[in-house]
Symmetry: C2
Subunit: 341 residues, 2 copies
């Protein structure tokens, strides 16, 4: 019996079990996801990424607390998905559910799930996609997707999220700059966390400089000009917010003290509204689903082909390859012609 | 006309052109790799990985210089492949060929190639594999494969290399520790670079502690005991080097001054000898080729299937998916049954 129904009814135990089924890519998990899929598309997916040492986990923690204790309006249902692609071996949740639990324990409006890679990055991305869909269908309005590391994983997360936060902190190593150049292009909101540390101005200035490189439109320079030199005097003649182009704002926070969190939440909400208004949300949804479709297709094609070729044929090709009698490409050609004959 | 022949004859211009063909996955590049493959398997592939700020590039630079100016014996032909998976957008070589060139310029025994991701991590891994094979066939005896970032990319690089160096440096952020847990397991040699910085003992102690967790054999503790408490007095009764188990040594370096580089090169050579003696080299080669075979198979299966299905059928499935009328899994089932009928 599928877990889809109890999950839709808000049963948290059923949800936890379903997420395990999804992580294991079981048949039950697949069927439940089929049933749940029409109920998805309501959550705001927020990606949180940044280099080690920037305090991502604290920030996610305090954002979740904020959404649970909104100064006005009802609390939001919040899910946290902590993805750790750098941990392919331990299989455990390094990000530490227990650490978070001190603040969020006992609150049934918060659901936390840690995921570690099990071999392939592609497998992790697919599993994360499924987990987020299940949480979305289960009624979580805010889903925070946190990832450790710097690289392709962040880009994949950005494809999954509606709003991507890139976290920085003052005083981290030399070639952080180099990494940022790529990561910056996926940022919808930039956060300088640990803003009480020395060097916060340098970090912020570096980010502004990179933003100008990444978005070299007159609009940006206008905005910068206004912000830093003339106050709001220019805003009467030049619209403060271009209706099409989103310029990632830079928010300072001291997450462990909760400072800057309400302002950050406001910037996140503003971005969500922006992508709704401009049609960007629909575009992102489409591109996200397309990439999921392609990933699933790839995985299914390999599984189907595997069923058509004998282990002996595969082993023989590998044997010839290891002896360098054929090249990898020639081994593939051999196997693919054999597999279909 | 294939570039394989001039590449085998040592033509560097032909090599550079071939590497571009391989990166573009062109038909010429594929054919040349088929021809070159029987000539591979002679180079020592050394992976170099570590978090931003550890000084990887300087270290690679000075290792290359060392191999070019060996105190005894002829200079080795050295290639450097700098892989930057965190830079999927710029498409450029952030790692800075020009910076290296100051020291290595004009030396035809050194060949440097930077590679940035072009979309998918899988594509980058395949291209890197091909580039390394071409360099191997071209006669480079030492191939240094450097990667930026922390995550799955490192693991993939480790699969490619015979000897993997993991670089650390004192005083980098808080949760570096968490990342190391996964990365450590791919390390053959650990390097604490910037060893003149404060905190070097703390970093080294942390690494030793993690090594004990990762390799909890009596052998290790014996080694540690000997190294730190009793000097060499124990070594008469307990063999210093277990013939089967390799314990990653920890080497201190100050790369920008060249300090510790000869000792590091010695540890690298020792590891290479160890994996040759124990059969581990053959095992790694096999597992590497197997993983390349699987990657190529996956890519080829997708390409073949794409040719059998109409763009209309694909677009229709995506359309239904975006309207949430079918789930991603159902879209795949639809496309796969249609594609073969």
């Amino acid at each position: 019996m599928s877990l889809a129904h109890p999950v839709l009814e808000g049963n948290r135990l059923a949800l936890a079990r379903l997420l395990t089924q999804i992580e294991n890519d079981s048949e039950e998990g697949r069927e439940a996801l089929n049933e749940l899929f029409p109920h998805t598309g309501r959550a705001h997916l927020i990606g949180v990424t940044g280099a080690p040492g920037t305090g991502k986990s604290s920030l996610v923690n305090h954002l979740a607390l904020y959404y649970r204790r909104l100064p006005r309006g009802p609390a939001r249902q919040v899910a946290i998905v902590a993805v750790d692609p750098s941990s392919p071996f331990t299989g455990g949740a390094i990000l530490g559910d227990r650490v978070r639990m001190r603040d969020l324990a006992g609150d049934s409006g918060v659901f936390i799930r840690s995921m570690a890679s099990r071999g392939s990055l592609g497998g992790l991305a697919l599993a994360t996609t499924g987990v987020v869909q299940a949480l979305d269908a289960a009624g979580f309005e805010i889903i925070l997707i946190e990832t450790v590391g710097a690289g392709q994983a962040e880009v994949d997360i950005a494809r999954l999220a509606h709003t991507t936060l890139v976290i920085e902190a003052p005083g981290l190593g030399d070639d952080i700059q180099a990494i940022k150049a790529g990561i910056l292009e996926i940022a919808d909101v930039l956060v300088v966390n640990k803003a009480d540390r020395p060097g916060v101005e340098i970090t912020e200035r570096a980010l502004r400089g990179m933003l100008q490189l990444a978005h070299p439109t007159p609009h940006i320079f206008r905005n910068h000009y206004r912000d830093h030199t003339l106050g709001d005097t220019l805003s009467e003649n030049t619209p403060a917010t271009d209706p099409i182009i989103w310029v990632p704002p830079i928010q300072r926070t001291i997450a462990i003290e909760g400072q800057g969190i309400p302002e950050l939440a406001k910037a996140i909400a503003k971005h969500y509204q922006h992508i709704k208004n401009t049609g960007e949300l629909r575009r992102r949804e489409r591109s996200r689903l397309r990439s999921e479709l392609d990933n699933l297709l790839r995985e299914s094609l390999v599984a189907r082909w595997r069923a058509t070729v004998s282990q002996e044929a595969y082993d023989q090709a590998l044997h010839n390859l290891v002896r360098r009698e054929i090249s990898p490409r020639q081994a593939v050609d051999q196997l693919l012609s054999g597999g279909l004959s």
